[in-house]
């Protein structure tokens, strides 16, 4: 049962989560250790999610009709901020709680999401996002994966790449073509595909920082019931834009929670680096917190950031880079001798900060979106 006081008062909720963290539950204690091995990190974070679900904390911020306990995205923002303050390093593998799940909660399919949401929140199931294809990256509307109606199911055939967390995922949100190729963005539909189904093949891609968060996924005539369409038939572009509004806008809030920890933890302890660089990074984080915080407030009130989310994403990337520049300046071991777990993780994070300008739409596409939609340039 939800506590009405905690639903109504985000500050009281944050204090309650803080109190729970202070008791040092074993799942939390395990998650705050540096864990460079990605598969281990996934297990440990799944356990933490299970503990947060059992205690009820992760259910706040989600509708009761979908297995949550009520409240808004502000509750979720407060929970992850509190976890970060207690030493959790990232959302590792659960980023889609704040990228995909808000869209699933908003656009359905309701019956399916009512089952899937608690399973995801509790860490029992995980999600992947299947947008990009070998020939459709920035030009997403050119994607070719097809979904063909066959009785009461659609049969999906095609190939996705850079599919996030597919190796660890249970479900994949797949954007597929239900119209003609010429229909571009108008002929797309979003489906929830079971990654365990025969005909789905996942090939994890080892990344430059040693993790395998991304994968190439092929779908060979995989049946998906029509009841697992997210949003409307041929309404996949709207679903994609809803997701990108979160991925570029509000997700930045959740990411910046961990940035303070990165900056303060790794720079304060390290050898002397320029105070100016650290101060500039602090300013960059504040800009992300302020813009994404506005996104949180808007979403909590039922509005959205819209194309302005792209600005938040640019600011997030700037902050990632300036923090990691400061970290690198004080940690030569990151480049030469990442022998202990902490330094190995620092190296992963530093390298990742060089590619953040690609995910969720490349930086050049974000700049074009701003030029076209916000500045209305010719």
């Amino acid at each position: 049962m939800p506590d009405p006081t905690l639903v109504a008062d985000v500050g009281a909720y944050a204090a309650a989560v803080d109190g729970w963290c202070a008791t040092r539950p074993p799942a939390l204690a395990a998650a705050v250790r540096p864990i460079p091995d990605y598969a281990t990190r996934v297990e440990v974070m799944s356990d933490l999610l299970g503990a947060l679900f059992d205690a009820g904390w992760s259910r706040y911020g989600w509708p009761e009709t979908l297995g949550g306990l009520g409240g808004s995205i502000l509750h979720r923002g407060a929970m992850w901020q509190t976890l970060a303050a207690h030493g959790v390093a990232s959302m590792a593998v659960f980023e889609h709680l704040e990228v995909l799940l808000p869209t699933l909660a908003a656009l359905g399919p309701t019956d399916f999401v009512a089952d899937a949401l608690p399973a995801f929140l509790s860490g029992r199931e995980r999600w992947a996002q299947g947008f990009s294809e070998p020939d459709a990256g920035s030009d997403l509307a050119a994607l070719r994966t097809r979904a063909v109606l066959d009785g009461d199911a659609y049969r999906i055939t095609g190939r996705k790449i850079w599919t996030s967390w597919a190796k660890y995922g249970t479900w994949c949100l797949v954007l597929a073509r239900t119209g003609t190729t010429e229909s571009r963005h108008r002929g797309l539909t979003a489906f929830v595909v079971d990654l365990r189904h025969p005909g789905v093949e996942v090939r994890a891609i080892e990344q430059a920082n040693g993790t395998d968060e991304l994968a190439e996924v092929t779908f060979d005539d995989v049946p998906v019931p029509a009841t697992r369409i997210v949003g409307d038939l041929d309404g996949g572009w709207k679903v994609a834009m809803h997701i990108l509004s979160h991925e570029r806008g509000t997700y930045a809030w959740f990411r910046q929670c961990f940035m303070y920890r990165d900056l303060i933890g790794h720079v304060a302890d390290g050898p002397a680096v320029s105070d100016r660089a650290v101060g500039d990074a602090l300013c960059d984080i504040a800009a992300v917190a302020a813009t994404s915080g506005e996104g949180l407030r808007l979403h909590a009130s039922g509005a959205t950031l819209g194309p302005r989310a792209t600005i938040t994403k640019l600011l997030l990337c700037e902050a990632e880079r300036s923090i990691q520049d400061a970290v690198l300046a004080g940690n030569a071991d990151l480049a030469l001798a990442p022998l202990d777990d902490t330094t190995a993780l620092l190296r992963q994070e530093y390298l990742f900060s060089r590619i953040v300008t690609v995910y969720g739409g490349s930086q050049q596409m974000q700049l074009e979106t701003i030029a076209k939609q916000l500045l209305e340039l010719p």
């Binding site: 915080g293 407030r297 500045l375 010719p378």
Partner: protein, 319 residues
């Protein structure tokens, strides 16, 4: 954006721009009811109106002593009807302090607080004002205070509290004015990108130019977001948030002007276009109440030494 709070702020800004445009001096502040507003800064609407005035001041290149008046207010418990402005002090080359008055000076009293000694209130007749000629359509005077001049000021709430409040208000207000001036420079660049034709098409069709402008609006949006948080949270803002706001505003304000200048090309670096006024206004305001370089360096040292908690809590966002 259609939420009520944002609409109110848009209205404040439009009204402030109309009021500031074309008016100068302390008389313009009188017309705005400015001196009454200073006593009401605990009220969110009064605070929003006050800060909107500074954004308008930058956007319209207004020339009033509003910033010095705002900075002086926390030193005095009640308004006795006398108009006081603060001179902004900074360490001078070769020792001592340099004092600067911004805006057409009010004639009555000047507050001087170097931070190194007790603040003093000097009558205008006791100081020498030397005009400084820089662009920016902002009247600037170097202030020379005679040795031993003035009477000490003892703020009712204690000196440190008054200094902290003064610095908070001055930094956030200066950040808003930097924002407005940077937006002014940016607006010129947008006009130019839409109108200037090269290679048979407006230069705003070229990605190299489009991306420069997209970065410039990102620079200003960052400043807008942190200044709005400071305005809304006020005394509940995270520790040293005013310094973060001012450091970010100075840095990003300069960046936005530089990117706009690059889009404008050579015409932007002439007296024929207002860009240099906006740019100089940003430079002037970056230099008062802590430059972006000074503040960022101090903030970095603070982070390293004290591991502070500068987070913005979601609970306050919804307030």
């Amino acid at each position: 954006m259609s939420e009520p709070r944002s609409r109110d702020h848009d209205e404040f800004l439009a009204a402030a721009r109309a009021a500031v445009a074309g008016s100068t001096g302390a008389d313009a502040l009188d017309a705005l009811g400015w001196w009454d507003l200073l006593g009401m800064l605990d009220d969110p609407d009064a605070r929003a109106a006050t800060f909107a005035l500074f954004r308008a001041h930058g956007r319209e290149l207004g020339d009033t002593p509003a910033l010095g008046a705002l900075a002086a207010a926390p030193y005095f418990a009640t308004d006795d009807g006398t108009r006081t402005v603060m001179a902004f002090s900074r360490p001078a080359t070769g020792g001592g302090f340099a004092h600067t008055l911004l805006g057409t000076p009010v004639t009555e009293r000047i507050l001087v607080d170097t931070g190194a000694a007790a603040p003093v209130l000097v009558e205008a007749a006791e100081v020498t004002l030397t005009p400084v000629a820089v662009p920016g359509r902002l009247t600037i005077h170097a202030v020379t205070v005679a040795e031993g001049a003035g009477i000490p000021v003892t703020p009712a709430d204690g000196l440190e509290a008054a200094r902290a409040r003064s610095a908070f208000l001055a930094r956030v207000a200066a950040a808003y004015e930097i924002l407005g001036a940077a937006e002014g420079a940016f607006a010129l660049a947008i006009d130019h990108a839409n109108g200037r034709v090269q290679f048979g098409q407006p230069i705003g069709t070229f990605q190299a130019v489009r991306h420069l402008l997209a970065w410039a609006v990102t620079d200003t949006r960052a400043v807008e977001s942190v200044t709005d948080v400071a305005r809304d949270l006020d005394v509940a803002a995270p520790p040293r948030f005013d310094e973060i706001v001012k450091a970010l505003a100075g840095r990003n304000g300069r960046r936005a002007c530089e990117r706009s200048l690059q889009v404008l090309g050579a015409i932007g670096f002439t007296a024929e276009l207002d860009h240099h006024h906006f740019h100089s206004r940003v430079l002037a305001l970056d230099a008062v109440a802590g430059t972006s370089a000074e503040l960022a360096t101090a903030l970095g040292a603070w982070v390293r030494a004290e591991r502070p908690d500068p987070r913005i809590a979601p609970a306050v966002l919804s307030a």
